[in-house]
Amino acid sequence: MFAEGTEAATHAAGWFLEHAWLIPLIPAVAFFLIIGFGKRMPRGGSEIGIASMLAALVIAAGTAYQWVQRVDAPVSEGELGLSRASFGSARVFSEKAAAEGHEVLPVINSWNWFDIGGLKVSIGSHIDGLAVTLLLLVAFISTLVQIYSTEYVRGDRRYTHFFASITLFSAGMLTMVLAPNMVQFILGWEIMGLCSFLLIGHWWEQKANSEAALKAIWTVRVGDMGLLVGTAVLLGMFGTLEISEINEKAATFAGDNKGMLMFAAIALFIACIGKSGQFPLHTWLPDAMAGPTPVSSLLHSSTMVVAGVFLVARLYPVFHVGLDINLAGQNFNLIAVIGGITVLIAAGLAFVQDDIKKVLAYSTVSQLGYMMLGLGVGAWTGAVFHIFTHAFFKCALFLCAGSIAHTGSHHSFDMKTDMGGLRKKMPVTFVVWILSTLALCGVPFFSGFFSKDEIIDSAKYNDYKVFYFVAIIGEAMTAAYMTRATYLTFFGTARGGAAHFVHGHDAHATDAHAVDAHPVDSHGHDDHDAPVHHSAPLPFAKTDSSWQITIPLLILGVLAVISGYLNAPALGIHWFEHMTESSIGLPIGKGGPFEVPPPPEFTWSAAAPGLVLVLLGFLVSLYLSKAVFGEKKTALQGLTQRNKVLGAGHRFLVNKYYLDTLYEKVIVRSIAHPISRAAYWTNQHVLDGIVNAVGKGGRRTGELVYKYVDQGLVDGAVNGSGATARGAGSALQSVQSGKVNLYGALLFGAAAVGALVLVLVNS
């Protein structure tokens, strides 16, 4: 089993690395506890959830710490020798690493789960830099979001189930992150999909929410077909489901059926398209905003949607070799193209959204496009680091949106009708928002700058010029739409719900909220049935939200600024890269078709065009926002209504490029309706026909049996016996007629017959 391998690993691995499998296990157990006991607990189960996430966070932190130690620790020759014999994946790395004196083995710890036809499937953990990054990330963000949720969903009708689903989600994602083989990976993937469905449709009483949940799961499902097909092809090609072995075999791929590898890579990438919201399967992500804001911030911005990116990063040799990512002379490939398209179209759609969460959702789609783009141009470290930093600032942005809705805008997310001018009364939210926006736009020295810039630089240096331009244009658009959103939310005059908040009563008054003049938004947040006690806000921001909301915001805001410094090429810090490079065998210089180019050196001159465009985007958007949304009447206001071309363009964007229409009305209807009609016809005529025929046959048989067997045979026999008896009686009745003469006749007749018999016998 794992004896030999574990020995080699145990020499260097610490307790946390060995027991990293506890990280997903604790939330999984907590899920069952919440389901079983949550309702009876004083805080409705959230204690169990938060406690489990804290425990997972502690163990993840320990794992990260020990991994760092492992990377930095010198590796002895003896271990290398052992590992060479037992670890397949080490073979690739160990020779090169032995040559360069630097090699870190992943800590793989697995038990035999089940056997199918000779194929052993294991369950356990595979800890390397990439896994550690995501483990820490997921555990941390989950803990913060759960703390935030205790205030945000307070009084909700399904409070306990919410915490149960969120805990299960964390367990699922953690399972996926440290999966050593594709089966466990898919297990975690599917658990996440299930929890996404449950959480998006948390307020399923409103039809829009349940439809959004269904749209999410069906769209992602379309992609999941690719995951299964790709895994099956890889299994068929390489004969194994272990991720380390797949990577090794793909990295040294020298076979002649390259097409199969490409097919597997494309199939797996389709799953990523679905899960990570790339074009063309991005349509579910904005609709997923129907779920509660903590769900949007946890699942649909920082953790679940990066699962697709994680898959590509995890099996990078498969994609890199299969899709010829950094082959000399290639300047486009599928991943980069899809990523690039996603960046642009999502950024475009973010301009026409009135709902603040939808702006953030499209922003997420766009940033996921960046990550895919990064992976597509060979910037592995950049993309993974962008996952890391993006998680913090995007989660912060969503939690800010939730904070605004909870406190400032009467549970509305509509920027145009219920927000505006909130910056004075919600200072913490405002500051965190600004910090996160700056990080998102890639402003220098905020975290997003370091990660995004690496992607953009790699695109330029790795001969993916087109995508370089796409990336920097995307940066400009990001700056622009975020400026618009910021202006609408925090500046200008307070409107609607915000007006109530800013000019009216304190956010923490316990009187009932006034009946909303606008209809309940699609989020279906139920009005509090009874006055709900909000917890205390932070002392220096008394008008802002409660501490459960603002403290996580602050933490994330700080991280949005400083997390980038883990890997800042601009400042010559390559620590993050150093920690994670063993996941794909960096540095690699020689041998095999798998050659990821190292990240380029950073120069300010190379980054300059991007930064200029960001500034340009910001300024233009500021001007336009002031002009269109400000108080002063300008010629620009109502432009899209007056100008036909601009109006058509606006409508095109508002209708999301008519993609939803294409998917739902054209594709789905043309496939589903005939199928459903055929199924209905089959049901009515064939199945029901068979059932009815059987029924009719049964009844007919019954009738026949009744008529012939029962009436005829049985009754006939019974009646017959009666008739026979009566007949015999009638016949014999004449013997007892009372006629003496007849008696005499019988007597003499009998005597005659007897005599005759005697004579005949004796003659």
Binding site: K739, N741, L742, A745, F748, G749, A751, A752, V753, A755, L756, V759, S763
Partner: protein, 172 residues
Amino acid sequence: MLLASDIQIAQNIGFGIIAAIMILGALNVVRSSNVVHAALSLVAVMAGAAAQYLLLAAEFVAVTQVLVYIGAVMVLFLFGVMLTRAKLGKDVDLNNKGGAAIGAPVALLLFGVMAYVLVKGFEDTKLDPDLLPSTTADLSDKIFSVYALPFWALSFVLLAAVIGAIVLARKD
């Protein structure tokens, strides 16, 4: 002296004639539509029977037959006929409907069987022609010695019959 063996032919002819009369008389009894005619035919049959007894050298029996049967029983029958208001003259209501249909076959069957048996059994057995008639003294000896018990039983039967007849037929 005429021995019996000498007058066999005459006996046969006599038998034949008497037998014919008897049979005809019997047929009349069962087929006549006049009750009195039937009764009188029965008398003829009984008389014929007595004659046959004589041919069989049973003189006492023959005489007793005449005295008792014809003299008493037939008179009784005629009294019965009279007392039951039998229709004198032709009476159409004397036969069973379908009685002939049942009776004839039975009778014929019976006769067939008996005839067959008799012919088969006794083909040519002849009666001893030289047998002397028995004397009454021997007969009475037989009755009162060997068959005394039946005689007494018979006397009781007759007594019972007489008493019974009186009891049954008296008017109260």
